[in-house]
């Protein structure tokens, strides 16, 4: 160890130097404060002994200068003093001295103190080294996480959120947070929205999110309803997540054909639907256990259905929003949140911006510690861009195929099974038609729903015209399905290629076992069908014909490679 000593008294200095060299230390000797500082900077000693009273620069000043130069190294300073008064001794410590020794020098005490500081210094150096190692390791880990995050983002946060009617905020906390925000469209242009909040943060939460996103996007693009999707997600999570880890979630399906929202919610705080000039008109309550808790056979999939009006706004958020803390520890809470959303009573208010501002003002935080995820989805008059944005692999133009199949669905199937996504899968086999999946699915969905609701179940669509009638309709449908014992829906699909255009014609026939109806009522004078759904079908198809007293409908959908 290298020790710097400074003492203006020659005999003192000689004796001190000798004591220290005999102990085996390397000694650098200065005669005053100035020299002490100079020698310190030149030789970087491990320990400094400073006489308090020296000419040119005394020990106190020298100590201050030396402390400035040490950085994060520990270099103890021991004052050498014959001053006895307490205030003088205290002053030594005030200026950064770590200890003091009184003169005349006692060899034993001096040695003991130096050894003690030596041990302390070793410990300090060890800690510093470990800290540097940990720092390095931490930097590596963060870098790896950042790479993984890009991967994760590609899967879990891909596209779809940057639409004009969506405003959202994803929690910036930690590189991976357990929050999921997913929006996708089915082939028939229904919108699925999911907000998920895994327990905990970090890597485990993020890894759980990957299969969820995969299932959500995959099944939505195939036209499955949220009922099937949420069942499948729960099944997967209950398989892969350890006990105690789960995902609180709300999923909504927005159906533009009949202006309805279906929702399933487990574990998240209430979502809200707000209407212009009215404020909050409805809550989306958590009626279920979070995803991943219940085994598949115990899982309950009761959904809620409501009607919406154009420009209604749907709000979903994670509990971090309610728990956002003010500096005094109190939480933002449900009441404040509701009062901001209720300001939509004035339709010109920008609720989303007001909400963000309200929380920011309340917490007075910088953005980095905000830990909440939120989405505002405005249910506007959607521009029906029916070609779903899905990546198809580039395939060579194959020879167009000729095929035909018949499906016959009986009551037990109709009760619990949505056959359309599977029917749609067939189309994937026919390259070329794949590009028209959206349109075909819309046609199929509309015709099938009519066949089921009005044909087999005999429900009156006029019921849906009012808000209460709407709810009654769907209850009535559920009851009717439960009681259904006889009946069927047959779907026939036949595809004939057109060798000239390289495309083809898809002939869809749907028959049902109901009582039929007078379809001439539907046709207006110019032979077109009223009723939004049927008008849409007619616009998509080359032809549409009812027969057999309204129990059978035939449409021809033709296409070519464009």
């Amino acid at each position: 160890m290298k020790i710097l000593i400074a003492d203006d008294n020659n005999t003192d200095r000689l004796i001190l130097k000798r004591i220290l060299t005999n102990c085996g230390y390397e000694v650098i000797a200065a005669v005053d404060g100035l020299e002490a500082v100079e020698f310190f900077n030149d030789s970087m000693p491990d320990l400094v002994l400073l006489d308090a009273m020296m000419p040119n620069m005394d020990g106190y000043e020298a100590a201050i200068e030396i402390k400035k130069a040490t950085g994060d190294r520990l270099v103890p300073i021991i004052f050498l003093t014959s001053l006895q008064e307490a205030s003088a001794l205290a002053h030594c410590l005030e200026v950064g001295g770590d200890d003091f020794l009184t003169k005349p020098y006692n060899k034993i005490i001096l040695e003991a103190k130096i050894k003690a500081f030596e041990r302390m210094k070793l410990l300090h150096d060890e800690v510093r080294e470990q800290r540097n190692e940990i720092q390095l390791y931490n930097d590596h880990m963060i870098h790896e996480q950042e790479v993984a995050k890009r991967l994760f983002d590609n899967i879990a946060h891909s596209g779809n959120l940057n639409q004009p009617n969506i405003k959202h905020l994803l929690s910036p906390m930690s590189i991976f947070n357990g929050d999921l925000l997913l929006v996708a469209r089915t082939p028939s242009d229904m919108t699925h929205i999911m907000l998920g909040d895994f327990t905990g943060h970090g890597l485990p939460a993020a890894i759980g999110a990957l299969p969820v996103a995969d299932i959500f996007y995959g099944m939505t693009s195939k036209g499955f309803s949220i009922v099937d999707i949420v069942t499948e997600i729960n099944k997967r999570l209950s398989n892969i997540l350890p006990v105690g880890v789960f995902c609180c979630a709300t999923i909504c399906e927005i159906n533009y054909r009949d202006d309805s929202i279906i929702s399933w919610s487990g574990g998240l705080p209430d979502g809200y639907i707000a209407r212009a000039d009215e404020g909050i008109i409805d809550n989306i309550k958590s009626n279920h256990l979070p995803l991943g808790v219940l085994a598949p056979n115990n899982f309950s999939v009761e959904t809620e259905m409501r009607q919406f009006s154009p420009n209604d706004k749907l709000y979903l958020f994670s509990d971090g929003l309610l728990e956002a803390e003010a500096p005094d520890g109190s939480m933002f809470g449900e009441e404040r949140l509701k009062s901001v959303i209720n300001s939509y009573e004035d339709a010109s208010v920008n609720v989303y911006d007001d909400l963000l501002k309200a929380v920011a003002d309340y917490t007075q935080s910088d953005k980095q510690t905000d830990d909440y995820t939120l989405i505002e989805y405005t249910i506007d008059d959607l521009n029906h861009n029916i070609d779903t944005a899905e990546d198809f692999s580039d395939e060579e133009r194959q020879e167009s195929m000729e095929w035909c199949f018949d499906y016959d669905f009986r009551p037990s199937t109709l009760r619990q099974f949505d056959p359309l996504p599977l029917v749609l899968q067939i189309l994937n086999e026919c390259s070329g038609l794949k590009d028209y999946r959206g349109r075909v699915f819309t046609v199929l969905a509309e015709l099938f729903t009519n066949a089921l609701d009005h044909g087999v179940l005999g429900l009156d669509s006029n019921m849906k015209k009012s808000a209460e009638g709407f709810a009654k309709f769907y209850l009535a449908k559920k009851d009717a399905l439960d009681l259904l014992e006889d009946g069927f829906i047959k779907i026939r699909m036949e595809h004939l290629p057109d060798n000239e255009s390289k495309g083809g014609a898809l002939h869809i026939r749907i028959q049902n076992s109901g009582d039929g109806f007078d379809y001439s009522q539907l046709k207006a004078a110019d032979n077109s069908f009223s009723g939004r759904g049927l008008a849409l079908v007619q616009s998509l198809c080359k032809s549409m014909e009812y027969s057999d007293n309204g129990k059978q409908v035939d449409v021809i959908f033709d296409w070519d490679y464009s």
Partner: protein, 111 residues
Amino acid sequence: MEDSINMPIVEELKQLMEEDFPLLIETYVNDCDARIDALALAISNQDATEVREIAHAFKGSSSNLGAEKLTSICFRLETMGREGELANANDEYINMKSEYLKVREYFKNLL
């Protein structure tokens, strides 16, 4: 010399300094020769601060070398200087000078 010098301390010093013992003695003698004159000047100038500082340094060195009687006299002069009471300083100085010469003689003979 036993009432002037603490022999065991001198012995210890000899063992500590080994071949540098003479250097130590010479340093002491040179420093104190200068100090004794400076002290006389300070007292004649009635400079209490100066008296205190010189006496303090003198005391320190002397105590290191075990010259205990000399150390006590220095302490008394240091106190006079600190309190600004130099009335008896001259008398004390005479004691000090005489004791110092004794000690000086003793150490020089050790070399």
